[in-house]
Each structure stands twice: as structure tokens, then as C-alpha cells.
């Protein structure tokens, strides 16, 4: 659904970086290396990195079935 506000494990606020990450590395237009983008955003622990790498926005999928 929506990206989590904080990292499940350590509690760092990660939500604010999602849209930049999505635009740069997790969409058709963004073809940068996800690892480099995560480094750039300052997410250097693997607990925070997996939050983004494994996230899928589902609002568009769910919204027709309101």
C-alpha cells in the first residue's frame, strides 16, 4: 500500500525519501542503480534499505474497488 513512515527495525524516518527513490530508481523513467541512490539518500543500514527495495505501491491497484 503506502510506503511505511519508519523503518520497521530501527525506527529511522524513511517515508520522506520514498518519492525521490521511486523517481530515480524504482520506476520506468528512473534507471539509476538502486544501491547508489540509497547511499545518496543516506540510508546506509540494511534494515532501512530493504524497506525501499521490497516496497510496492498498491494504492492504484486498490482504488477502483472502493
Amino acid at each position: 500500500m503506502m510506503v511505511p513512515v519508519r523503518c520497521f527495525t530501527c525506527g529511522t524516518v524513511i517515508g520522506e525519501h520514498w518519492e525521490e527513490f521511486k523517481a530515480r530508481a524504482a520506476s520506468k523513467e528512473g534507471d539509476e542503480d538502486p544501491a547508489a541512490v540509497l547511499d545518496d539518500l543516506g540510508l546506509d543500514r540494511h534494515c532501512c534499505r530493504r524497506m525501499f527495495v521490497s516496497h510496492q505501491d498498491l494504492v492504484d491497484v486498490v482504488s477502483p474497488y472502493q
Binding site: M2, R6, G11
Partner: protein, 248 residues
């Protein structure tokens, strides 16, 4: 215990700090770590009154998302029962961000403005009043002021003789902060590998007793140095309380 601690900053920014404390016992170091995580009161949204929520998320899920947004917490301005009421009103098609939370008090603002709360489609609307209250990390993770708080022993490096010429060419990995004479060096400066810093030398690494390097990050509700000071304050208040309770 009336001893003074020797504190030295290695790295200090608004959200992240690394500092060395000497003359501290492991138990006390852990006490400080736990106090930073669980005992520093911070403001967080706790009760939300929804006027309208036609988004794809349920009220309670949205309320949790709002609660997790860090709010700046000025020191000494709020008591345990005080509340601050923030308002949000966003109409789709748009994304509601944490920055859309409107606060009546300029001292209490969302620390990060770009956290997406919910994506609203055409015709969907979110209108709510959110009440923030003071709470502690031990009650809910949303009240945690410090994130990823930890400490390591300070490592003392002793440089010995030249390494044997035909010895194994292995990396010698150390993480944290090393002490080389009087100089403190973060291991990230030489790629965490001692063979980079002392090529061709035998080096021995030892923990320095009772010297700990803390690494503290703040979620933005307050600067790191303030967070640590407030944590130490809560420790001494609790110690005073205990002394009062057990004295005859």
C-alpha cells in the same frame, strides 16, 4: 557516584552524532542507551478525529501513520497532560504529506515535511483533527526520540614490528573508532581495514576499558545533543526518586 565523565565529540550534526565517553561503566553506558530510546518524552499524534476519510486506507491505519511522523518537541514547554491539536485537510487528486499537518504552535511542527501519508484519488478527501500528546518510547515506538542508538568500546591500536614478508595478506577489519596515540580516528576514514592505515606493520588492537563510543541518531524531534542531555536528566530524576522512596 560523584565521578566526572570525559566526553569528546567525534562527529556532530543536527541528526547524528558520535561521541566518546571515558570513565563510564558498561552498565551505565547501557543505561544511557536505554534512556535515550525509552525515557525521553516526545510529542506524537495520539488521537485523531476524522471528519472525512474517503481514502483507500482505514481511519486507524492513517492515524498510526500520522502518529509515526516525528514532531519537534521544545524542552520544558509541555507537561505530561498537555496536548497540541494539528489539523489536516487535503482533497484529491493529491498526496497528503506530513507537511500538510497544520500546527497552531510554531514550536511544534512535523520534523520532516515530505512523508507521504496517503495518496488521494479523484474525489477522495481527508479531513481530520489530530491531537498530539507527550509520551515515552517505552509506551510506543512513535515516541522514540533516538533511533539506532548504540555504543562500542574504544579500540586502542598498538603498532608493532614490520609484518613478516611472506605472511598472509589478510585484511584486518575493525569497526568503530580507534585511538592512535592521542588521536581519535573513525575507522570509516580508512575503509575499516587497519592494513590500509598501517601497511606492512604488525598491529594489535585492544578494547580500552571503560571508554565507550556512542552513536546516536535523532528522528528530528530534537537535536541529538539535547536528546542525550534529556536522557541523562531522566536517569538522574529517576535515581533521585528511588533515593527518596528508600530513605527512611
Amino acid at each position: 557516584m560523584a565521578t566526572d565523565f570525559d566526553v569528546e565529540f567525534i562527529e556532530d550534526t543536527e541528526r547524528e552524532a558520535r561521541f566518546l565517553v571515558r570513565g563510564i561503566t558498561p552498565a551505565f553506558a547501557n543505561g544511557i542507551r536505554r534512556a535515550i530510546l525509552a525515557d525521553v518524552p516526545t510529542l506524537s499524534i495520539d488521537t485523531v478525529r476524522f471528519v472525512e476519510n474517503s481514502s483507500v486506507l482505514f481511519d486507524e491505519v492513517l492515524a498510526l501513520r500520522m502518529g509515526l511522523v516525528p514532531l519537534t518537541t521544545p524542552e520544558g514547554e509541555f507537561d505530561e497532560d498537555d496536548t497540541v491539536t494539528l489539523a489536516i485537510d487535503v482533497e484529491g487528486p493529491a498526496t497528503a504529506y506530513s507537511g500538510d499537518l497544520v500546527s497552531p504552535d510554531p514550536q511544534v511542527e512535523p520534523a520532516d515535511e515530505n512523508i507521504p501519508l496517503i495518496e488521494l484519488k479523484d474525489g477522495q478527501r481527508l479531513e481530520a483533527e489530530a491531537e498530539a500528546k507527550l509520551g515515552r518510547g517505552r509506551d510506543h515506538a512513535k515516541f522514540q526520540g533516538g533511533v539506532a542508538v548504540g555504543y562500542r568500546h574504544l579500540q586502542h591500536v598498538e603498532v608493532g614490528d614490520d609484518a613478516s614478508e611472506y605472511g598472509e595478506d589478510e585484511a584486518q577489519i575493525v569497526r568503530g573508532v580507534i585511538e592512535d596515540g592521542d588521536e581519535l580516528v573513525a575507522t570509516s576514514e580508512f575503509g575499516h581495514d587497519l592494513t590500509n592505515r598501517y601497511p606492512g606493520k604488525e598491529v594489535t588492537v585492544e578494547d580500552v576499558p571503560n571508554a565507550f563510543v556512542f552513536h546516536v541518531e535523532s528522528d528530528g524531534s530534537m537535536p541529538v545533543d539535547e536528546l542525550v542531555l534529556r536522557a541523562v536528566d531522566t536517569l538522574s530524576t529517576r535515581a533521585d526518586e528511588l533515593r527518596e522512596k528508600v530513605s527512611l
